[in-house]
């Protein structure tokens, strides 16, 4: 093999190795860090895994928001107008969180079937509905027809 070819071979080999290493790492971390989205309906049907980090989205049920008097613990119910799921969160809710508003909560299901949220997201725009919720709603409307 001429030195020039040898150099090329080394370059190509290192590119192939490097790329596969990176792709491997990327796929690994992707699988570790994706959060699946579930609707209230799916959770009520027991489709959501217990103890795995997931997202749940829906509308906050009117009159369901209850605060603890001595801490920042707050509980509320989320609905996709079919089933509801109870959510517990400790901390400060976003400004656009209110009853009747579409939100997304991130956290885990506990054994009692209550969603333990560690993050609650509401969006900048009050007319905005998360695409996930919008889709669930659309399906629901179609089902009614």
């Amino acid at each position: 093999m001429t030195p020039k070819r040898q150099k090329r071979l080394i370059i190509i080999l290192s590119i192939v190795l490097g790329t596969s290493l990176i792709v491997g790492l990327v796929m690994y971390s992707l699988n570790q860090n994706i959060n699946l989205f579930y609707s209230a309906n799916q959770i009520a049907n027991g489709e959501a895994p217990v103890g795995t980090r997931i997202r749940v989205g829906g509308m906050v049920v009117d009159g369901s928001v209850k605060r603890a008097t001595d801490s920042l613990r707050v509980s509320f119910a989320l609905t996709d107008y079919e089933k509801t799921v109870n959510v517990v969160f400790t901390g400060i809710l976003p400004d656009l969180f209110r009853e009747g508003q579409g939100i997304i909560a991130q956290g885990k299901m506990d054994a009692q079937g209550v969603f333990q949220a560690i993050e609650v997201l509401a969006k900048h725009d009050e007319n905005y509905m998360p695409p996930e919720i919008a889709e669930t709603m659309k399906k629901k409307q179609e089902a009614i027809k």
Binding site: G18, I22, L25, V26, S29, L30, Q32, N33, I34, N35, L36, F37, R53, R55, R67, T69, D70, S71, L72, T90, G91, I92, L93, D95, L96, I104, L121, K123, H124, D125, E126, N127, Y128, P130, P131, E132
Partner: protein, 653 residues
Amino acid sequence: MIPELGEFALILALGFSIILATVPLYGAATLKTLWMQYAKPLAKAQFTFMLISFICLGYAFSVDDFSVQYVANHSNSQLPMQFKLSAVWGGHEGSLLLWALILSGWTLAVSLFSKGLPLDMLARVLGVMGIIATGFTSFLLWTSSPFLRYLPRYPMDGADLNPLLQDFGLIVHPPLLYMGYVGFSVAFAFAISALLSGRLDAAWARWSRPWTNIAWAFLGAGITLGSWWAYYELGWGGWWFWDPVENASLMPWLVGTALMHSLAVTEKRGVFKSWTLLLAIFAFSLSLLGTFLVRSGVLTSVHAFASDPERGFFILVLLVLTIGGSLTLYAFKAPNVKSESSFAWLSREMLLLINNVFLMVMAVTVLLGTLYPLLIDALGAGKISVGPPYFNALFVPIMGLMVICLGLSSAARWRNTKMENVKKQLMLPAIISLLAGVIFPFLYGDGFNFRVFIGISLSMWIITTVAKEFKGKFRTSSSITEKLKQLSPSYYGMMLAHIGVAVTAIGITLVSVYSEERDMRLAPGETVELADYQFKFLGTKPVKGANYTADQATIEISLDGASIVTLHPEKRRYNVKKSMMTEASIDPGLFRDLYVALGEPLADGAWAVRVHYKPYVRWLWLGGLLMALGGILTVFDRRYRQNKSEKQGVAHA
């Protein structure tokens, strides 16, 4: 009447864009001087009418013309004047108009500052930019005209601007960011012109370098400001969320950084030519992708506003045409491009190549993480989102490796470098950085911390190697002031930008490791302690602003009994949209920020209060600004303003 004038000016601008997109390019292809000479006046005309259109929209906002739909949806008579004017780009239609205005502004700038550029090259560059302008202006006119009316029955008052956007941040962040996004169109146009003409020499690289650097600087400044804005405005005290829209701005920045370095090698050494072209194409394509992601609403993001699929589709078509067209051209023309020199394993070229590879890997990682949810959704495999840990896990190590190379490259020479020289040059910086990394966490924190060790060592590595190289410049020179004058603005810009990387890295490391945060229920008179500071909550009182009412809290902060500052965070309620907004109050400092935000009111005058202690958080924006400043400084290099005679010599070589 005025809005119609704006619409009409926009149509005229489109007309000029279409001519600009065809006539000069045809002239360049057929070597007709007269046709090529049309490029400059057309660029001026296009800009003029775009500006008129933009001013008309601004006028409609300033006089509260709520018969215009866009004004009615994004403004209100109570809104303070500066926000009325910045509300021009507070929504989809107006921000696209700003996009188009800035594009025509860049086109004009190229036509004005192009004295050394041969006529055919200028005609091609402006022509390509005309094609892009044609695409975007038609997009504006057909799907998102900001001048549509509510007639004959129009609302009495406007729906108001989103309260989050009623802030100084909106005035500066979008224009700067767009200057960057759109600025890459110049680098793109230069790349396409090089492919069309087949001329890709040192002179070509020298022409496109200042444009690339300045666009990169604007983009960096825009991202930095965005991060700062999110930090104080959203009330969470976060500065980066790996949100799809943030990623959309980071990707072109990363590729732009690679492009900047690759262009340097192309100019100095005549290698990496086809790679440079490819990067220029990617940088602009990613800018378009960013626009698509922001405007189409396909991804769940904090920036996602109610949007309409037709618009998304239009941008997608523009995106596919741009990428497809330019890559096809590249595939046909790039094989003709030849390298002019070779280089060894250990050389500055090789290290810059590695830097490029790392930057591209980072950009691809971010792209994958951003688009993966879309892909999974399209495959029908469920709705997912990719969390920040994914990005951190990949971004941080790659960044670290790249920083090591950055230090090495300061000791490497072009073509070939002897290992002994590198060792001799870098031994001292390496020892200093490692020591600093070990010692710092003991002095600042309460013991060894691996993340701080890595972060501080790497930052010191950049600073010491840059300093060592700078010192090396004076080895042969007797007069220090003489040498300081001799060094070019490019060199100073490079040093400044590299120091900026170190400053940002220090900020990110320390704020991530040593931040403290607590969400507390506080009744009036209660105190919470955080990082040795006592935060005493003294209750709230109602206050009234221009277009909102607020509960304003008083929080006294003291350190070991000595009073430091009194902060007044607010919970605002905007009159028109009836929406709530948290206005955090911050005591900024070079070494720490104290950050207080109100949550919700609880029973008995108590409030949910969020307090943060953020050490060195300012450094990460300071570093970002230093990088941008460095980028701007390079543009003042005399090399880029060389007169014609010298240029022609190079061009014919």
